[in-house]
């Protein structure tokens, strides 16, 4: 009997192991290919480059585990960045603008959550609508113009570090750790997995699943807003189409990380490793000078390799 347990456990371990092997292979391969790859400066580059995607990947992973998804994340990212920039340009102190931006993110979460929680529309459906709507708002708020011209201090913040580690990366790592603890050791985590697995049973246990889902969307909006602050600090400018296609990177990291798109399965560690896989891949291929065209093909193949179940179906 005890054998079942090992067999079951291994399936989630397996995907983490696969990630680790992939990362190792990449590290070895790229460092053979290029002497620049393993330099401290490059490691710092990678960590800074994945930070914003990572911050968004956290709530995305949580939402997907809970059986939903937010397709409007890229639009939300762009809108929050623009709102943040306009607030700063409007003379609001940076910290206040940051707080307000996170509130803006929360408001978008309230909006998105409404359709899911109150109207029972699946997240993947309603957020496609809000994706278009929120992107539209990006064009409206500044009549299509980019927002820029921020203070030196703010721009410096985008490249600030603590003991050589980029602040954004630190924040992202802390958030990942917090999310891992949250999902593994708290009420919150139990609810997330329970809802993702079987929403009806969970509701029958007296848990207000709709309200909880709404809460997740709000959290999602807030974290995306946080990511937008770091992104804006790094770029120093926000165009109305900022963040477009970020969603694909976020989804790819989460999905490569073994989180099931069907909900209820997977863990946040996997998402973190998935993020590393993609971040290292991008950077490594850039450094060896592989054309982005082939990069996207390689990324596609990688997605397939990690997601495929090669075993035969029967039994």
């Amino acid at each position: 009997m005890s054998k079942w347990k090992e067999w079951k456990l291994s399936s989630s371990l397996k995907s983490i192991l696969l990630m680790l092997i992939l990362i190792l292979v990449q590290l070895i391969w790229f460092s053979i290919q290029s002497p620049y790859f393993l330099k401290i400066g490059n490691i710092v580059n990678i960590s800074r480059q994945i930070a914003e995607i990572g911050i968004i990947a956290i709530p995305t992973a949580i939402l997907i585990i809970a059986g939903s998804i937010d397709m409007s994340m890229a639009s939300t990212l762009g809108f929050c960045a623009m709102a943040f920039g306009m607030m700063m340009n409007g003379g609001i102190p940076i910290w206040a603008a940051a707080v307000l931006t996170i509130l803006v993110g929360a408001a978008i979460g309230v909006f998105n959550g409404f359709f899911v929680a109150v109207l029972n529309i699946p997240g993947i459906v309603s957020t496609i609508g809000s994706m278009v709507l929120i992107r539209g708002m990006c064009y409206i708020i500044n009549r299509g113009n980019p927002v820029n011209g921020f203070s030196e201090g703010f721009i410096k913040f985008g490249y600030a570090d603590v003991l050589g580690i980029p602040v954004s990366f630190l924040v992202m790592t802390l958030l990942f750790a917090a999310a891992a603890i949250l999902l593994q050791r708290t009420n919150f985590g139990v609810k997330v997995y329970a809802i993702g697995n079987n929403e009806v049973s969970t509701r029958f246990c007296g848990i207000k699943t709709n309200r909880f889902m709404w809460g997740l969307f709000i959290l999602n909006g807030m974290l995306i807003a946080l990511a937008s602050i770091f992104l804006l600090a790094r770029l120093g400018s926000a165009e109305a189409n900022l963040g477009q296609n970020y969603d694909l990177d976020v989804l790819a990291s989460v999905l490569i990380g073994g989180i099931s798109i069907l909900g209820g399965k997977g863990n946040i560690t996997g998402a973190f490793l998935g993020l590393l896989v993609i971040g290292i891949l991008r950077n490594g291929l850039n450094i060896i000078g592989v054309s982005v065209l082939y990069q996207s093909i390689i990324l596609g193949v990688l997605l397939i390799l990690t997601a495929a179940k090669w075993k035969k179906v029967k039994d």
């Binding site: 054998k3 708290t186 139990v190 609810k191 697995n197 029958f204 246990c205 848990i207």
Partner: protein
């Protein structure tokens, strides 16, 4: 029986990763007989049936059908050769019509070019359902019909094919008692035509009534096959459980205590002006045929369904509009009927399934108190005899009966004053059933009020102190168990009454 068997199972073996499920099983099925197949949950009945029809491959032995060794790739091939199966779980397409569910992709119901013959599909479906005593619209989508109708469709699917052997894996589990009669009529008809039936059930009464022979599986081996005429049920059950069971309904009626739950004038679109009381130490049965509103009533009391009028009073307070959370705070707990859909969470551990309604109690500042959870779970696993490797085993890997016990444990742990059980023993084997009954009785003795909604008449009569019968959303009768018998129950449950539906 001197005839040659139509289906022979020879030394069949089956392994799943990690464990042997079937060990050298031998079993013969003769033309025109009804062979009962019984065994505890997890004994391997369904697995054997799935091997015969090609759902699983076998790891040893052979299957001989009409003198030929066969090895089907899937149920479609089996069906084409003459073996049909009704699976234990529904396998219906909720998004397709009744008629189509019966004849989808069946040869003869579409032409060479693949054009579907809708007319024939409908006509034949109508004919077969009529034979089964069911007269519902064959164009209805399956998602819009009840469990009973769905089971009838499964049966119609199997008998529509002129199969020579029909395997029925717990076909009656979702049927109300009165429908089982229809099913048996059909089985007898099939038998007359020379068709063989393998009939799997946990209801001994049914086995006794319909079967010619019965085979008993225990732990993946065939521990005996016998003519029903030469034996008695007691013997069979002892063989099946590996121990003697004497007292099926261990219920002792107690002097009822104070009123624990008072329901007054509940009304919504399903239930009409329902009022009743339950006392401490009392087991109240609610019996009704499908669509009587008994399920909705329970859901109203537990706050899962809204009601327009009426109120619910317990010792802890009164509720008019409420949620499950509030119902719990009133001291009410509810074990839903559809274990898979409404009860368990497959991918969560036993532990987490247990604590789900009481996350606050099992956490400090939001963090789970792991030790407390584990010890409490292990306590329940011992108390209810839940078979699991450890408290972290995923529920998906437990057998149905054990899953049911986990759900029960979950709600006992809430320490309710009133426990509503909706079909608590559906699909559970006799041994486990008796365990659950004993548990229910013990709870009542400890002072709990229990409301038991059930469609199994012997259970209702055997376990309850008082029984409310529901019909079309209203209470159509209340009986003390002493004045009850099957006929009274059925009559009260099905009298035509009122105007609206």
């Amino acid at each position: 029986m001197n005839e040659k068997p139509i289906l022979q199972i020879r030394q069949v073996e089956k392994r799943f990763p990690g464990n042997y499920v079937l060990r050298k099983i031998d079993l013969d099925v003769y033309p025109g007989e009804v062979l009962g197949l019984i065994g505890e949950n997890g004994a391997g009945k369904s697995t054997l049936m799935k091997i015969i029809t090609g759902v699983y491959s076998l790891d040893g032995g052979e299957i001989i059908f009409e003198g030929q060794k066969v090895s089907f790739q899937n149920t479609k091939e089996a069906l084409a050769s003459g073996i049909a199966i009704i699976h234990q779980e529904f396998n219906l397409f909720q998004n397709l019509s009744v008629a189509e569910n019966i004849f989808l992709d069946r040869d003869g119901y579409h032409d060479k070019g693949g054009r579907v013959d809708w007319k024939k599909t409908r006509q034949e479906a109508r004919r077969i359902l009529k034979e089964l005593g069911a007269e519902f619209d064959v164009d209805t989508q399956v998602s819009e019909i009840g469990v009973r109708e769905q089971q009838l469709i499964e049966i119609a699917k199997a008998i529509s094919s002129n199969a020579k052997v029909i395997i029925m894996d717990e076909p009656s589990a979702a049927l109300p008692q009165n429908e089982v009669g229809h099913l048996f009529d059909v089985i007898r008809l099939l038998k007359e035509r020379g068709c063989s039936i393998i009939y799997v059930s946990h209801r001994m009464k049914e086995i006794e009534e319909i079967c010619d022979r019965v085979a008993v599986l225990r732990n993946g081996t065939n521990v005996g096959t016998m003519q029903l005429a030469n034996t008695n049920m007691h013997e069979i059950i002892t063989l099946m459980c590996g121990r003697e069971i004497t007292d099926y309904y261990p219920h002792v009626q107690l002097e009822p205590g104070d009123v624990a739950l008072q329901v007054e004038g509940l009304t919504n679109q399903y239930v009409k002006n329902v009022s009743f009381r339950v006392h401490k130490k009392e087991i109240l049965g609610i019996y009704g045929l499908a669509g009587s509103g008994s399920v909705q009533l329970a859901e109203c009391i537990f706050g899962l369904n809204r009601f327009r009028e009426g109120k619910i009073v317990t010792v802890k307070g009164t509720a008019e509009k409420h949620t499950p959370e509030e119902a719990m705070s009133l001291g009410i707990a509810y074990v839903p009927p559809d274990r898979r859909r409404e009860g368990i969470i497959k991918e969560l551990s036993v532990e987490k399934n247990l604590i789900l309604p009481q996350l606050r109690r099992y956490s400090k500042a939001g963090f789970l108190t792991q030790k407390k959870i584990k010890s409490r779970t292990i306590e329940y696993m011992k108390q209810l005899n839940i078979l699991a490797v450890n408290s972290r085993m995923l529920l998906d890997n437990l057998s149905g009966g054990n899953q049911q016990k986990v759900v029960l444990a979950r709600w006992l742990d809430v320490q309710p004053d009133v426990l509503i059980l909706n079909e608590p023993t559906r699909g559970v084997d006799i041994g486990a059933k008796v365990e659950i009954y004993a548990l229910i009785d013990k709870l009542a003795q400890q002072g709990l009020s229990i409301v038991m909604i059930s469609s199994e008449i012997p259970e209702v009569i055997g376990m309850c102190d008082r029984v409310i019968v529901m019909n079309k959303g209203r209470i159509s009768g209340t009986f003390a168990s002493s004045e009850l018998n099957q006929e009274v129950l059925l009559n009260t449950a099905s009298v035509a009454q009122g105007k609206e539906g």
